[in-house]
Subunit: 337 residues, 4 copies
């Protein structure tokens, strides 16, 4: 049960609604986001929702029985548009392309890529300064300093930044330097981190867990929304299977299924799924046809010399071709489907 | 090691080549297909292949060290074109579309679909008369009789037939009524069946095993080729994973990987992979962008009343739209990639 | 619905029962096994089974709604005992041990192992003469000739033989030389083969599919039973997963689940699951504790020189220790659980 | 490369060793644990380790080339014993049993279970106060208050506590109330949390990731060790697979493999793997036979009324029987293997 409350609902009106729900054995949870105030009713009893729907203070009411409610399309049928400011938004019509290096290696390295992005009208730069690595002895990123240098430059050129946050304490530290917090595949069910990200007014992109189900991904998004943040993107990046001839099994089926179940935008990551440079473009185009609202891809001036992920990273000419073809395909898709 | 032999090689010449290979500890296997005669050398020793290459009777020689050799692109770099006769062929340029009902239900039912196929210029009809079913109590198909009725009609209208063979003894029984033998996902490693199909001059489409690796699929194809039949197609139809919100995990990564490893055509089956009617079209288009040479899809005049697989079967208007869009996308793909 | 019929039921009585079932929209299938005659009713309607149960000719009636019926413990609560003759049987109390080489390599090799088995009172020899191999270029077994030589020797010493059948035509060829037909993991859903094995009066051991579900294994067993053969064993041999530090994921959970769902004996194959010689014994003992009625294991006089599977094969002293420990553990299990 | 340093190594000696390693292109990392000081050399060059081994200040030196080094048995061959104080330790000889409720529900509830544990000489109580839940609307545990109440009681009765930590900030909050920090399956690769746990002098039990590989589990343990904490336990709790007739696929193969690769103790969790109450005991015994050093299991006075995980939780008589049988089996195992 999702009850949208009037902006200026009185204390008494709200308490009446809560009591009515408690009377029919529903527990309630208040959710105040950057846009609206909701009351979530959690229970199973069947009853005439109009009884609640007609109470003073209620703007709208929807029955949603799944474990995820606020992120469900059962309730909100229109696609969510995520406004990043400065006329940059993530929306169904325009294909969103996020591109950039696996990690920032130096200031010079970053500036070179930012120029490449601007030239190609890529408005969201992806890059990591905190890197989750299986081994404690691997390169773990430049840390917050790395972000500061690129943030100023990107602001100048009107490019937004997406970067991975690994830990609650990093949320505040990164806040002023990123436009989208990325939750990585190992943290999809780091519920404390999701709670914390629900309390900031920045977009959050949640990557699907290494072997996370589609429902678990939606429930993780529900954590963020129910803590107060509606600006959520989901990302399919490949799941773990028995097949070892590529990096991860790119679950493109998940894209139409997600688009069906949720109003949130869905981004596809061909770089981390197939993990083989020469096949990244084809898989990006396939993901767009499957229904992705955007793609995220790794690009580097010299992939052979990248600190990490070089084998799946495009060089500038390859990336240019991908941007062009992805936009062409997206136009055709809009016309055909 | 693959040695192509001259058509009119003498017994002595061949025995000299074999001896030379045995001398360097290679075992040999003779492979005579509908097109050519080969000698396969199996061993690991390194040696100067020109020594063998220059022997009388040798047309060409290639080192291929993988477990699959004859189906490898390491040896034959051009895409294989499969000629089905009557100007119908499976080739990289024209998108191959195979469509039809899960199984034949009656003569009338079949005739109606054949008309639909002809109207839409679909030149290959898919349909089953032997159906593998998990439960012994399920409908198992009309048997060979079902094929006879449609075969005559299809020949009249120049439509080719692909149908599943489950057992060695069916190979002969089906031979005159089908143009492509389909090996189903439960029989990908039925080696006796593959052996038998290597001995007929009809095309064979091998579906990937329920949880078969890409390499296992190629090795199964090698069974058919090394028994004498070069007319082989591979089919990605989804693999088994932990995710249960659709039928099978459509492994679209497998398509560019297969196209890289083998010269054989690769067909994609969106119906059995996602298994949800309203998403079949999107996944078909995604598969084409990923590099598929063709698609195979289930269509029925009234999917709601189909004997089996109704939930993933398209009706005629849906199928029409898919054919059109698939062809459009294929043209764009040829132009862009 | 399973209806056990009286041995001397009249034609009319049977036809009355069938009509009554048809009247309530049940389809029927007659199953005559080596032991009993059954009528299987397939349908969903709810009705008072006593109405059928009281009809002349009915010995017993059970409602079983799952896809597998005859192999279900819902109907037959006692463990099935499989009598192999000569006082050798597979039963819950005595631990069944099947041991032997992956394949027969020569007559001398076989005789040596048969002696080892007799010395250790192992009454079932496992060995293959038809070997399913991913690659067409691998050793595929000695064929039927291999069985003839060992069959005579085993009969003399009262040792039974289990060997893999890969193809319908081999059923007849192997019939006189084996006591248990093994259906391998690639043939678990080779339904024609299962049909054929349902028509012989020899035991059949069905290995779980490479990524077969527990329910699919039970349905495959239902194929054999419903064709007329009640002598069925099931075998857990590991499933395919993402983990690559051993051969297959030994699904020991499947053992108590199978014992719960079916009355058939369950055998565990530690050799093919973990696939690492030094760990085979521990996994065999674990399988027994999990509830296995028996184990099947590979043994060879010189595993280092075995034609195949050497890395998972025990030598004689290792095997001896396993037999002893397995029997000890089985006694303790019987006392504790 | 692991170099154990003398306790009273001089600054100069250490700097000499570091320089020598740098000279051969090895990077170094200093690791000071509660027991010893190490220098880890990370590189690939081959050289004579005696050159470093003979330098002043070096106590011992070992080549370990895997991604995990300090937790490897290649270097430390003897099993690690984890001393929890008060004569309670986790060691290879005595079977460790951890038992308790999924979560603490009330003070009364906890006291009742603590009594049950004492009666049965169970020296480690498992219980959660922070619960990771897929849905934000599920019960998430009593929080730190829950721990305080039981901690005093457990100390009185000499029972140690293991409880799950989900977030860096909880490490300090929980520190005084737990004896073993549990890292849950969703946090196996929460590297910031592992870093933090490497800096406390309390034992840490890391559960294997939902679909984590054995190598990833060892690398996660390496995070804790290389941050300074040697008191690590590993826990096999089932992995995600396609099979849905139980909760998780209990990967018992992983136990002997882990025991082979690492000197750390390995605990098995039958409750969360099979997830079905009546099968928990069998799977616990199987895990012991496979080589587990201990088991962790859920017990509750009334599983039917437990707040969570009731379907896999044992009642007191069932648990009593499990404790007894597990200890019997462990004695037999020690005698046989």
């Amino acid at each position: 049960m999702i009850i949208q409350l009037n902006k200026n609902i009185s204390k008494e009106e709200k308490s009446n609604i809560t009591s009515s729900l408690n009377n029919i054995s529903y527990k309630t949870k208040t959710v105040n986001t950057q846009y609206k105030n909701y009351l979530i009713g959690i229970g199973n009893n069947d009853f005439d929702i109009r009884k609640i729907g007609n109470m003073p203070g209620v703007e709208d009411i929807h029955k949603v029985s799944m474990d995820y409610k606020l992120v469900s399309r059962k309730w909100r049928v229109d696609d969510t548009i995520i406004d990043l400011g400065d006329n940059i938004s993530i929306n169904r019509n325009d294909l969103t392309i996020m591109a950039g290096p696996c990690s920032i290696e130096s200031e010079e390295h970053a500036m070179n890529i930012i120029e490449h992005l601007e030239e190609n009208d890529i408005r969201i730069m992806r890059t990591m300064v905190f890197k989750p690595r299986s081994s404690p002895y691997s390169f773990r990123g430049l840390g917050i300093e790395g972000l500061r240098t690129i943030s100023a430059e990107c602001k100048k050129r009107n490019i937004k930044i997406i970067s991975e946050v690994m830990e609650v304490s990093q949320v505040e530290a990164m806040h002023d330097y990123v436009d989208i917090f990325q939750v990585g595949t190992r943290n999809t069910q780091n519920f404390n981190l999701l709670d914390a990200l629900g309390k900031v007014d920045k977009a959050v992109m949640i990557k699907r867990g290494i072997s996370g189900t589609i429902d678990e991904l939606l429930q993780s998004a529900e954590y963020v929304f129910s803590n107060g943040n509606e600006k959520i993107l989901l990302c399919e990046r490949g799941i773990r299977s028995f097949e070892k001839s590529y990096r991860n099994t790119f679950d493109l089926n998940a894209i139409p299924i997600l688009k069906d179940k949720t109003h949130l935008p869905v981004i596809a990551d061909p770089s981390h799924s197939i993990g083989i440079r020469k096949h990244v473009e084809k898989m990006a185009l396939a993901a767009i046809m499957a229904g992705a609202d955007g793609i995220i891809t790794e690009v580097h001036q010299q992939p052979e010399k990248a600190f990490s992920d070089g084998q799946q990273t495009l060089n500038y000419p390859e990336a240019k071709r991908l941007y062009f073809n992805a936009r062409e395909i997206n136009v055709l898709k809009r016309n055909l489907l």
